[in-house]
C-alpha cells in the first residue's frame, strides 16, 4: 500500500523536498550543538554580511513573477469558463472579457512596481558593514519587502478575480441579468491588488541607495 502511495509523482516530489529540507536543518542544528559552536549561529552577521543587492533584486524578481503567477492563474480559470460557457451561450463572450482585463491589471501592477523598484537600485562603494552604511541596508530590505508585498497581494488578487470571473461567466450564461451584480464582487476583489501596490510604494518612498 505504501508502494502504491509512493508511485504518485506528487508524493515523491513533496516527500523528497521536505525530507531534504528538514534533514538539513536537523543535521546543521545537531552539529552546532554537539561541537558547542552555537555561538557561531549569528543572524545579525547574516543580515549585515549579505549584500543589500541580493535583497533588492530578490524583491524586484518576486514583484513581477508572483504578480504574473496570479494573473496567469486567474486568466486560466476565467478563460476556461468563458470558453466553455460560450459554446452554449455565445452572447457571454464579449461581456466577460472584462474579467480577463481585471486579471491582467494585476500583472500590470506587478510590472510597474518592478520597474519602479529597480530604478531605485544604485551602486555603492562600501565593502564592510560600516562603509556600506545603514541607508543602503534599509534600501535593500525595503525593496525586498516591497517586492514581497506587491507580489503576494497580486498573486491572491489574481486568483480571486479569476474564480469570481469564472462564476460570473457561468452565471451569465444561465441568466443575463446576474452579470452586473457579480461584476461588483469582482471589483472588490481587484481592489486588494491595488492596496498591495499602494503599500509597496509607501515602503519604497524613503529608499535612497548609493554613496
Amino acid at each position: 500500500m505504501l508502494l502504491e502511495c509512493m508511485m504518485n509523482g506528487h508524493a515523491i516530489l513533496y516527500t523528497g523536498v521536505t525530507l531534504a529540507f528538514w534533514s538539513t536543518i536537523l543535521i546543521v542544528g545537531t552539529c552546532y550543538t554537539i561541537f558547542d559552536l552555537g555561538f557561531r549561529f549569528d543572524v545579525a552577521w547574516f543580515l549585515t554580511e549579505t549584500s543589500p543587492f541580493m535583497w533588492a533584486n530578490l524583491g524586484i524578481g518576486l514583484a513581477i513573477s508572483l504578480s504574473v503567477v496570479g494573473a496567469a492563474w486567474g486568466i486560466y480559470i476565467t478563460g476556461s469558463s468563458i470558453i466553455g460557457g460560450g459554446v452554449k451561450a455565445p452572447r457571454i463572450k464579449t461581456k466577460n472579457l472584462v474579467s480577463i482585463i481585471f486579471c491582467e491589471a494585476v500583472a500590470i501592477y506587478g510590472i510597474i512596481m518592478a520597474i519602479v523598484i529597480s530604478n531605485m537600485a544604485e551602486s555603492f562603494s562600501g565593502t564592510t558593514p560600516e562603509t556600506i552604511g545603514a541607508r543602503n541596508y534599509q534600501a535593500g530590505y525595503s525593496m525586498f519587502g516591497a517586492g514581497l508585498t506587491v507580489g503576494f497581494s497580486n498573486l491572491f488578487c489574481g486568483i480571486c478575480v479569476g474564480i469570481v470571473g469564472s462564476g460570473a461567466a457561468l452565471a451569465d450564461a444561465q441568466n443575463g441579468s446576474l452579470f452586473v451584480k457579480i461584476l461588483i464582487v469582482e471589483i472588490f476583489g481587484s481592489a486588494i491588488g491595488l492596496f498591495g501596490v499602494i503599500v509597496a510604494i509607501l515602503q519604497t518612498s524613503k529608499v535612497k541607495m548609493g554613496d
Partner: protein, 486 residues
C-alpha cells in the same frame, strides 16, 4: 649480572628493532632536517639509563644538552665522539638489517657495543642545527678541548679515568672520489668504530661513546611536494644529483624557519600563564615621505630562545593587557606593541565574550590606537585565531579616529592567535576562527537556490495537476475519424 643483562639485551634489541621499524613508517611522512644520535657507556659501567624520547619527537638543542648533561654527570667523563660527515636514519634502515636480514647489517660493531652497554640512549631525531653543536656542548660540559684522532694515534694516547677527555673521530660519508657506495663507506666506518672501541677496551678506561653526524644525509622528500616553492614535482621528475639535494634542503630549511616551529609568547602571573600570543608574522610599517617603511618584529618576538620583554603587561579577571617592548624600531629607540583585551557577560547571548579592544603602538611618547573589538572577538573560554589581522588588507583593525596617528601606520599579523582569559596549562584553548564555515556568498547562494527550488516545486505541482479531459472518452466506441474532404 646475567639475569640483569638478559632483559636489558632483549629491551635493547627490541628498542633498536622498534625504532628502526617505527621510523620506517615515519619515513614516508615526516623526515626533514634531523640527525640521529646514539650514546652508550662502556661495558661494565652501570649508570641509570635515561628514557628515550617519545616516537616521532624531534629533540631540540636544549633537550640534547640536558641529555648530555645527565649522562656526563653520572657517567664516565671520557667521551669518544664518532662524528660522521652525514647521517640520516635512512642509513640505518637501509643498511642496518632492519628487515629481518640481520646478517646483511653493516653495523655489527655498533650493535655489539649497544648490546653490551648497560645504558644505551638512542635519539632517532635530533634537529639538525642542534646536532651540529654537539662538540661545543661537550666542550662546555667537560671543560676540555676536543682532540681529533684516528685509531692509530689513539693507541699511543694514555687516558686517565679521573680527568675528562673529548676524543673526536671524523668518519667520512660523502659521494667521494672513490665512488664507494654508501654501504661500503658505512661498513668501513663501523670497522673503525670497532677498532677504536677495542683499543679503548685494552686501555680499560670507562668511557661514554657518542655516534652522530654533522649533517643529514638525505633530504626531505615529502616536503618538496608540499612546499610548492618554485613549483611542485612533475610525475616523471627524476631525482637530481647532490647539488639539487643541497639546494632543496636549503629551501626547506627556509620554509620551516618561516613557518615557525616555536612556542607562543606567554605572559605569566606568578606560575600560571595568563596571556598567550602566537603568530607567524608580526610586522609594522610607517608612511614616511610617501613611502612605506616596514619593520618585521617576528624574529624579536618568536623563535627558539627568543624571549621578548613583556614589562608593563597586566592581567586580571576582566582586563588583560599584553605589552611587547622592542628597541630600535624604524628609528624609534623604544617601541611598544600593546594588545588590550577585555571580557564581560553579554545578556542577549547569555555568555561571556572577550574582545581585542585595542592594538596600540607606543613610541616616543606618541600612541597610535587601532580598534579591534568590531571583528576580533570570541567566547571567553576560547582563543581567537585568524589567518590575517591587518588594518589595510580586509581590515580587521581600524584606527580609533580619523586623526589618530594610527592612520600613518600599517600593521599586519599573519596566522595570529591570541588568548587573554581562561588559559589552562600552556596551550591555547579551542581556536575560534575568524573564518566561519559558510561565507556570506555561500549563504546568499543557498537562499537564492532555495527560492528557485520552491518555485520549481510549485511549478511542477501545477503542471502535474493538468489532466487531459477524459469525460467523453469511450474506449468501446468507434474511433474518431477526421475526413479529409469537407
Amino acid at each position: 649480572m646475567a639475569t640483569k643483562e638478559t632483559p636489558q639485551l632483549r629491551s635493547i634489541s627490541a628498542c633498536l628493532a622498534v625504532f628502526l621499524g617505527l621510523l620506517n613508517i615515519f619515513n614516508t611522512g615526516n623526515c626533514d632536517e634531523q640527525v640521529p644520535l646514539i650514546m652508550w657507556t662502556s661495558e661494565g659501567v652501570s649508570v641509570p639509563s635515561q628514557s628515550p624520547p617519545t616516537a616521532g619527537h624531534i629533540v631540540g638543542q636544549q633537550q640534547l644538552a640536558s641529555y648530555l648533561e645527565k649522562a656526563l654527570s653520572v657517567g664516565p667523563r671520557n667521551v669518544v665522539l664518532f662524528l660522521q660527515d652525514k647521517m640520516s636514519i635512512e642509513d640505518f634502515t637501509m643498511y642496518g638489517g632492519a628487515f629481518g636480514n640481520k646478517q646483511d647489517s653493516v653495523f655489527p660493531n655498533l650493535e655489539g657495543a649497544l648490546r653490551s652497554s648497560s645504558s644505551p640512549l638512542v635519539l632517532p631525531a635530533v634537529s639538525w642545527p642542534a646536532s651540529n653543536a654537539v662538540i661545543g656542548q661537550l666542550q662546555d660540559q667537560l671543560d676540555t678541548s676536543p682532540l681529533y684522532m684516528d685509531p692509530e694515534t689513539l693507541s699511543q694516547l694514555r687516558l686517565n679515568a679521573s680527568s675528562p677527555a673529548l676524543l673526536v673521530f671524523r668518519l667520512p660519508y660523502g659521494f667521494g672520489a672513490d665512488l664507494m657506495s654508501a654501504k661500503d663507506i658505512l661498513s668501513g666506518n663501523d670497522e673503525m668504530i670497532g677498532q677504536v672501541l677495542s683499543t679503548m677496551k685494552t686501555q680499560s678506561v670507562p668511557y661514554t661513546a657518542i655516534y652522530t653526524a654533522l649533517q643529514p644525509s638525505r633530504e626531505a622528500a615529502s616536503l618538496s611536494m608540499e612546499a610548492g616553492v618554485g613549483g611542485g614535482r612533475s610525475l616523471l621528475q627524476a631525482r637530481g644529483g647532490w647539488r639539487e639535494r643541497e639546494r632543496e634542503r636549503e629551501r626547506q630549511r627556509k620554509i620551516k624557519e618561516k613557518e615557525g616551529i616555536y612556542g607562543p609568547v606567554e605572559f605569566k602571573e606568578g606560575d600560571d600563564t595568563c596571556i598567550m600570543l602566537w603568530a607567524t608574522g608580526l610586522s609594522v610599517s610607517i608612511l614616511r615621505s610617501g613611502r612605506w617603511e616596514e619593520h618585521d618584529l617576528t624574529p624579536s618576538t618568536f623563535g627558539e630562545g627568543v624571549s621578548p620583554k613583556l614589562g608593563g603587561s597586566t592581567c586580571d579577571k576582566s582586563k588583560a593587557r599584553l605589552v611587547l617592548n622592542y628597541e630600535k624600531v624604524l628609528g624609534h629607540s623604544s617601541f611598544k606593541l600593546i594588545f588590550a583585551m577585555s571580557q564581560r557577560h553579554y545578556k542577549v547571548s547569555a555568555r561571556r565574550w572577550f574582545t581585542l579592544d585595542a592594538v596600540e603602538l607606543e613610541y616616543d611618547g606618541t600612541k597610535a590606537t587601532f580598534n579591534g573589538s568590531r571583528h576580533v572577538y570570541a567566547p571567553a573560554e576560547y582563543s581567537y585565531r585568524c589567518g590575517s589581522v591587518t588594518n589595510f588588507r580586509w581590515p580587521v583593525l581600524i584606527p580609533r579616529t580619523s586623526k589618530d596617528p594610527a592612520n600613518q601606520w600599517r600593521v599586519s599579523f599573519a596566522d595570529f592567535q591570541i588568548q587573554g582569559f581562561n588559559v589552562t596549562g600552556s596551550d591555547f584553548s579551542y581556536a575560534s576562527d575568524c573564518a566561519g564555515f559558510f561565507s556570506p556568498g555561500i549563504w546568499m547562494g543557498l537562499i537564492t537556490s532555495l527560492l528557485m527550488l520552491l518555485v520549481l516545486t510549485y511549478g511542477l505541482h501545477m503542471i502535474m495537476q493538468l489532466h487531459t479531459m477524459d469525460r467523453f472518452d469511450d474506449p468501446k466506441g468507434p474511433a474518431i475519424s477526421v475526413p479529409l474532404t469537407e
